[in-house]
């Protein structure tokens, strides 16, 4: 497949591209989809 002798290497080649596409899809889907209170609390407790 695609000139690659071993199916395991073909799967790796394909998964590289699919993993990158998963990342792109995730970013696109969540692009527009607690801070000061937490920060203040943390600083006070630390003091």
């Amino acid at each position: 497949m695609m000139g690659l002798a071993d199916p395991w290497v073909f799967v790796a080649y394909l998964l590289c591209i699919l993993s990158a596409l998963l990342c792109v899809g995730w970013g696109a889907y969540f692009w527009n989809r607690e801070e000061e209170e937490v920060r203040q609390w943390a600083v006070e407790e630390d003091k």
């Binding site: 071993d6 395991w8 998964l15 692009w31 607690e34 920060r39």
Partner: protein, 550 residues
Amino acid sequence: MSIWMITFVIVYFFAVGYLGYRGYRATQTAADYLIAGRKTHPYIMAMSYGSTFISTSAIVGFGGAAGVFGMGLLWLTVLNIFVGIFVAFVVFGGRTRALGLRLDAHTFPELIGRRFQSRFLQGAAATLIFVFMPLYASAVLIGAAKYLTQQLGVPYDVALFVFTAIIAVYVIMGGIKGVMYTDALQGTIMLFGMIALIVLTYSKLGGVTAAHQALTDLASQVPEKLAKGGHAGWTAMPKLGSPLWWTLVSTIVMGVGIGVLAQPQLAVRYMTVKSQKELNRGVPVGGVFILMMTGVAFVVGALTNVHFHRTAGQVSIAAAKGDVEAIIPMYLQQAMPSWFSVLFMLTLLSAAMSTLSSQFHVMGTSLGRDLAEQSPRLRNSKGGGMLVTRIGVLVGILVSAYLSYGLEKAFGKTGTEIVARGTAIFFGLCACAFLPMYAGALWSRAITKAGAIAGFLAGAGSSLFWLVFVHEKESTALLLCNKLFGVRSLGIAMVEGKEVFLRAGKIIWAFVDPLFVGLPLAIAVTIAVSLFTRKFSEEHLKRCRLGRTA
């Protein structure tokens, strides 16, 4: 060396200097210096994460390794993208950011120390980073200085000094903002360089399928020594259970693929953004970046065999006279147009500088913030935080530069070999020592302070033992095993004067990565000790987002 190359290098250094200055101007507080005030743009964060992760050794060293092992190395790219980016940003990143904010932590050791309410853990984690990271930094620094020496014709000592000094200025003055601004520029240059490399390579070899087919047809040309080790051609995985298979799967794929999750210089990146939304926006940038870095390096590295076979009648490793690291530079010199050498020079400079700047920064924060500032004398003093950390960064840089300059002079070839293993040693050690307690810190109510400490010590101790005495790549370079036991690895027995690798079924112990031993042991010890020791209060767990209703 052309006038164009000198011009571009000078312009590049000025651009880096300008961005470092911008970082310096934007740094007002210790939080700015350590975690960029938690307000970094997702593109800058993701590019900084990616370019820190990818050093020259990932492109030249691992690209050359692909020239030997073949395209089976692409499994590492799969892990790099899925584990190193997707799981890291989506699963670990959000939790780390939120916990860092709640505990007001500014460094990885501080996060761990505050989560487990243990100054010992903070100090021990920082010590481990400060002691072993210079070895990793030296490996990158030596590679960069040697490359500059080759390309620009300047003496090695001068290249080492100038290169270190430029990075030192913007890291010490600009802090993490200086580091991340320059990382984003460097990552962008790397992206252009690697896109050009894959397009030029595939078009030169007749297209994607034709190039792969030509490489497949070379299977009969595998050198005899590699074939004996299990090599089955450059578009096939090595034979299951063979020494080459173990090296490929255990050390290269798993060791680096899993080890990335517990890298302190990468984990701190999650704490530099404002919310999970920024991390989600960084995922596509990181995923595409890593695909174009390691994916391209491994494919091109393997395909160099086709080029060398067509032009010299030899496979890559033979054409490079056995020097794995010479495969990619030789290929570029012979097969790529002259304009590309300038772009690739900047790509490699960027890869080295982006990794080194983060290493120097995290070494400095470990020494300054986590060790010096936690000392009884400085603990309750006000101010001075940035100065102490800046001094820490300077000390880290000096130690790394000394190792790069002095180790070879002091120990000859042995010194060089120790540094060459620096990356693998640091990745393996971090995974075994940090990963169980880091994951426990983010998700588990049950891990106790004693459990975290015991797991850390078990992971660090066992992986160090395995590195020094069993894993033959490191144990051979470190010489200690040979001095004490008369063999270069305890996974090797001498039978009638010949070396025999000890096996258990298909397992060849000398090729098993420390990760396979240290990580399960550290997890088991962490859980076992936590079962019998005092739990944290409900109040503390609530604060760490691990309350019963959280």
